[in-house]
Symmetry: none
Subunit: 175 residues, 2 copies
DNA sequence: TTAGGTGCAAACCTTTTGCTCTATT
DNA sequence: AATAGAGCAAAAGGTTTGCACCTAA
């Protein structure tokens, strides 16, 4: 099985015309969205994200690039992009929705239910099995999704690894 | 009086003894939980549920059986049972968590992308593989979900299962 | 008896929204 | 100029919790 960290989104300039736009910003343009400065920044943050940031985290990252952005805008933008199919919303538990660019390629998620960490992986055997199952049911598999929720196996006593995300688990300790 | 893992719809006495308890109530006992009247009722509602009720709905159903139950208790109970692994929380979007007995057997969804029909299926091989994958990553698999999106293979015309729920599942729900 | 459960209502969190002002097209 | 977007803050749900009172074991 291949574990991946996730694709990089290299970036260009932050403002101005379309040439320097991030991949996601370009998608926005393609979808006919009005490109405000805020949207460009948020799009850039999303393009550069290698994890599954929640809104709060997106807001923090966006604010570093442009402090004139409000959370409400992040919420609105993220919602808009999801409707356009540019973003995908995920819920790994913890109460907040997390976002990921649709263009990030196919992979699966294993969520550590204690820490909230998300591990991405690919697995050909899984793909094969799912395709086989679909075939047995009379279907051609077009796409699929699988999410595993697990807890670290006992013996190993690794110290808390750095979260792959900026997201900590739920405020109430709930996974 | 040993019951199978399938659900049973009837209930006996509401007081102390275990004989009339619902399958889930018995699981609670097995887990060493103190069995209050409220918990018995909620357990029964859960055992009888064939859908994925949210807390509000559970509360409504439980209230019909015993009006002395509060929403807070439903929330607390449902959370407790989830931690015990007796219940599984699902999120089909829409903002509220929905619950389902773990004993209902893990099923997966295959969505016909042309018709929107949802076919449920079980597959032990898949469970095994997912558990194996989790193990390889150093985790014990606690729960998981998998959704397949497919298109009917040319000639075959299989009868498809009824949608399992009135709940529309969101593309990015969680398990 | 006593640790733990329950009700009620207030508190909490995340997400949405009304309104006014601003910026993109 | 017209229209969609942004900010701010208040509102809106869903879920949790403090506290005093009960209850199963």
């Amino acid at each position: 099985m291949v574990m991946s960290t996730k694709k990089m989104g290299r970036e260009g300039a932050a403002s101005g015309d379309t040439v320097g736009d991030s991949p996601i910003a370009r998608l926005c343009v393609k979808h006919g969205l009005k490109m405000t400065g805020q949207r460009r920044v948020i799009a850039r943050v999303l393009s550069e994200a290698e994890d599954h940031p929640d809104v709060e985290e997106l807001y923090r990252r966006a604010s570093e690039l442009d402090s004139r952005i409000s959370v409400a805008t992040v919420y609105r933008t993220v919602r808009l992009l999801e409707e356009k199919g540019i973003l995908e919303r995920r819920d790994f538990g913890g109460g907040r929705a997390r976002y990921e660019a649709s263009e990030n390629g196919h992979h699966y998620h294993l969520i550590d239910i204690d820490s909230g960490n998300v591990i991405e992986f690919e697995n050909d055997e899984l793909v094969g099995l799912l395709a086989k199952i679909a075939a047995e049911l009379g279907f051609d598999l077009m796409s699929h999704r699988a999410e595993l929720f697990g807890r670290r196996t006992a013996p190993e006593k690794k110290k808390d690894a750095a979260p792959e995300d900026g997201n900590r688990s739920s405020p109430t300790g709930r996974a």
